[in-house]
Amino acid sequence: MVDAWFLLNAMNGIGPEEVREAGSFLQAGKSPRLPRRRRLWTAALAAALLALLFSAFAYAQGWFGLSGRVTASESSSPYAPQEGSVGTRGYMASNGYADSPESLAGAEWQRVYWEMADEALEHNSPGWPEDMGEYAQTAMIYGAFDQEMLDALLSIGDRYGLAIHTAFLHLGFENEHFTEDTGVGAFLTRPDLGDDWSCHCIFEDGSFKGEGGLHLDGKELLYSLERYKSGMVDPYAFFVKDTADFEEWQLELDGRTLELALAPDVDWPNGYIFYRSGDLYVTVRIDSNPLELRDGRLFGEDLSREALEALAARFDYAELTGENDNN
């Protein structure tokens, strides 16, 4: 019988030289961190003030780019930025703006989850709970280890007036029922360039997320794409270290307004594309650093503003948000 154990054992087919290579890689001492670009304190302070002013003004003007989506938050999550910043750092929900119920609920769940997870990890290896009854899938989606965590999640949903995801319609690579489950057809505008997509999961409300590659100037850039609905507690964490690192602007494309954000020196992701239509939020995260590791250093390329705009045109937003069906 073929199962994950079968595949795990089949990894014995990996050659001894490859095993040795990875062993050396894992046992090597830590390399010095790549030096960060220094800023003059006055320039950083000016950037911070500008970022704050921009956020407040932009939000008041209905600007909902990156700055308008990050809720300041603290969490022990390994994904959360722990070091200081000059802009806003914190949690970014995939289905709501800064300080919205969705964003506040998501930030609170991440804080609560990691507090409980840290304690559980200290005393026992966590695993999916054995029996959560009608909430079994919910527990799996949100990673709730036990009834106490599940109760905390449900409480958060209640307090913020949000629903909780109850099921995966799909989890994994099979894409056969993607259109049926999400209402979304082909949404990549340039598959001829080699752009591709794999769906990671689809929830019961048709929200989905996945990842793929975009080809630009002979390189493949990783991206993730999510299309989520408001009104739900977001199960997945995303944190932004410092919004002040990013240049933000709007792009008018086929009569739609996209919000873009770009920070060439930041690690994944360093490019964002946002689009909203009604209660549907589309978020694209792009990594402009290709995968090559040369001489122990990352081989990265700056993603230009023009390149990000070109990549923004690789997606059919009308298809992603069902606007085509309404025409």
Partner: protein, 185 residues
Amino acid sequence: MEDSAIVDLYWQRSDRAIEETDRKYGRYCHTIAYNFCADHRDAEECVNDTWLCAWNLMPDKRPSLLSSFLGAITRSLAINRYKARTRKKRGGGETALALEELSECIPDRTDVERSYESKEFEAAIGRFVRGLSETERKIFVSRYWYMAPVAEIAERLHFSLGKTKSILFRLRGRLRTYLQEEGLW
């Protein structure tokens, strides 16, 4: 001590063989075992069993890469120990997470009547891994051979956790496709 010299000790049935092996590879093998078992006592027993297996296998074997040879033994022992321990309980730790990840590589419609040869899959995975770029290969083998935590892999590469997980996700997709193209599914 050089690997060839350690192997010579086994062939000479010297008492020092295990001592030198433990000195050079004890920690290495313990790490491999611990990544699977998530328990130091179990890991220590796996390591001790590894030395016994090595003693029984050499001679006749004379491995050219002793680290890989010992690591493979430890890995197999650790997998069996983990399976035995968690047979009735859905366990956690890196092994459980890796199994969840690898389950994505198995199409929904595998033929339950068909007999799948593990050797064919082992050979195919070996070819797949050799075809990866250096970075991809390090990430994949670190995760699915060594059961290294994703966070550790990310830190060594100076990649973010999210990026490393994305790379693993895509590699699993490519593995699935590769196995299908090889006609193994």
